[in-house]
């Protein structure tokens, strides 16, 4: 697949009076990529994605969609994007199906053409039984599904989801994940913002960590985890030993009956290390390999927890 850029953000800056919400973000998302913007509330995620859809007017910087400027060629750019906003909208005048026809119409899709697409999405998101219901009659989960249906109604190439699973139940969350993976397989470019670590880890090929209006790091989930300088093996000792010279081949330190070993590949090194302990007749009580998560990456880079 060619490395065509779906979204290209250059030096995006946005200030609201005294507050700088976004401070110079550069972001390139390839066509067909599943990209996650991870960061705490108020980090600048929503401002960034709302700039892409021109709901936010950037103070500085430029944004291109498939190489077209979003302002100069707004019809092209906007027709390529489908976005599910974080806030659920509440149009209570019309039933759900009608709302979807409207949304398709705004994108210039004829009613006859929209029908198949709308039927498909209603079915896919488990909404077809409820299609004649108005907003007031829908549960929170169904409203959220409708929000996503609206984003997909014109079959966009780029799908942007702003915190799609914030406040939804576990079942819907899982269904959405499965569906998003399906869309990704179909070649759609997906940009997701989330403050759920597991969501980003599970779905995204690349993750950008955003904090305080800046993109502090971006890479694949695995590479990001490698950034964290964390003990990769922890060995609990039975006796209080202060020095273990036999382990000098490995970068390690001891503290309170625990040996912390730093290694790139803990699974491969573990048998060798255990062997050395048994050769030296040092008793081990327990061994474990702590899993690094994006939470650790965030903590390591910012000194804070993501959902603090």
């Amino acid at each position: 697949m060619s490395k065509k850029l779906a979204i290209e953000i250059t030096n995006l800056t946005k200030s609201y009076e005294d507050v700088k919400a976004v401070r110079g973000i550069d972001l390139k998302i390839n066509k067909g990529e599943f990209y996650g913007l991870l960061g705490p509330n108020g980090a600048g995620k929503s401002t960034t994605i709302n700039s892409i859809t021109s709901l936010v007017k950037p103070s500085k910087g430029s944004i291109k969609i498939f190489d077209q400027d979003i302002e100069k060629n707004f019809r092209f750019a906007r027709s390529k994007i489908g976005i599910a906003q974080q806030e659920v909208s509440q149009d209570w005048f019309f039933p759900m199906e009608k709302l979807l026809y409207f949304q398709a119409g705004f994108y210039g899709v004829k009613k006859t053409k929209a029908k198949d697409r709308i039927d498909y999405i209603l079915n896919k998101l488990g909404l077809d039984e409820h299609k004649n219901k108005k907003m007031r009659e829908l549960s929170g989960g169904m409203k959220r599904r409708l929000q996503i249906a609206k984003a997909l109604v014109h079959d966009p190439e780029i799908i942007i989801l702003d915190e799609p699973t914030a406040g939804v139940d576990v079942e819907l969350r899982h269904d959405l994940w499965v569906y998003l993976q399906e869309l990704h397989k179909d070649g759609k470019t997906i940009l997701l913002t989330t403050h759920y670590i597991d969501e980003a880890e599970l779905l995204c090929e690349r993750v950008g960590i955003i904090d305080n209006g800046k993109l502090i790091v971006e890479d694949s989930v695995n590479n990001l985890k490698k950034l964290v300088n964390k003990s990769s093996i922890v060995i609990h000792l039975k006796d209080d030993i202060t020095s273990i010279n036999f382990l000098n081949d490995f970068n390690h330190h001891i503290s309170e009956k625990k040996v912390y070993v730093q290694t790139e590949s803990p699974n491969l090194d573990l048998p060798k290390i255990i062997l050395k302990f048994s050769e030296a007749s040092v008793n081990i009580e327990d061994v474990h390999i702590p899993q690094t998560s994006l939470e650790d990456v965030f903590l390591d880079l910012t000194g804070r927890k993501i959902n603090d």
Partner: protein
């Protein structure tokens, strides 16, 4: 220029369907109010108030009442639809679509125009049944249309700038209603002191009422040419400010 015709058509129809779906609030009240006025002034006060410009008082006030209804409905429609979309978070879903600011604003204006016009025509029918003559029907319909369009534009302008229903109510109570009453619904401005007469001459509602009174009853305080020209200029001006405001994105894009 309009290029997303399907989008433009869809939003315009949505705006029209929106008020029709709540016709009890958007169509019936104007009719009831007019019937009440006809009853009260026709039956109870008719003989106590003398004729104005050779027309019985009951008939004299009808074009003014009709215009007040048209103005209220046209303004309320675009203003409340815009504000409601803002407050209920549906506006962002519209602003991200490939609709230009011209297409967006004209669709909202059309919604309000249709509501003003439908109300106007229904009330015209009632007035006619109550004995009001219609000297020039095409011109009457044209005036109802122009006033619907211009005040719908004004409503959109106000709706985009408002943040709450309170602010909208302020406009209704402190601008539209006083201007309507001072525009000569219930009297000829020749009955006013000269300073108030001068003031009336910059009031667009005054020209709206004069124009309609002329095209229906054949009497008015200003010539048909003057009020027609004023209404046409006013329609263009209000449309331009509404479209321009939409293009700035003030209070809707952040």
């Amino acid at each position: 220029m309009i290029r997303n015709w399907i989008g433009f058509y869809t939003l315009s129809s949505r705006e029209i369907m929106r008020f029709f779906s709540v016709w009890r609030q958007t169509i019936i009240p104007g009719i009831i109010t007019t019937l009440l006025y006809i009853f009260v002034f026709g039956v109870a006060l008719e003989n106590r108030i003398s004729e104005i410009n050779g027309v019985s008082y009951k008939i004299y006030i009808l074009p003014g009442l009709l215009m007040m209804n048209v103005i209220t409905n046209a303004t309320a429609n675009s203003a409340s639809s815009m504000l409601q979309m803002k407050l209920l978070q549906t506006l962002p879903e519209l602003l991200i679509t490939p609709l230009s600011s011209l297409e967006l604003s004209l669709s909202f204006i059309i919604g309000g125009t249709v509501r003003g016009f439908v109300n106007g025509v229904l009330i015209l029918l009632i007035c006619w049944m109550a004995g009001m003559p219609i000297i020039n029907l095409p011109l009457t319909l044209l005036f109802i249309f122009l006033v619907s369009w211009s005040f719908s534009s004004l409503g959109l302008f106000v709706g985009q700038l408002s943040d709450s229903w309170d602010q909208l109510a302020l406009i209704q109570n402190f601008v539209i209603t006083p201007f309507s009453f001072l525009g000569g619904i219930f009297y000829s401005i020749k009955m006013l002191p000269s300073w108030a007469m001068t003031l009336s001459q910059v009031n667009p509602i005054y020209y709206a009422i004069c124009a309609l009174r002329e095209s229906t009853l054949g009497v008015s305080d200003t010539s048909l040419v003057v009020s027609s020209i004023f209404l046409i200029i006013f329609t263009f001006a209000t449309t331009i400010i509404a479209v321009q405001l939409m293009a700035t994105g003030k209070k809707i894009r952040f």
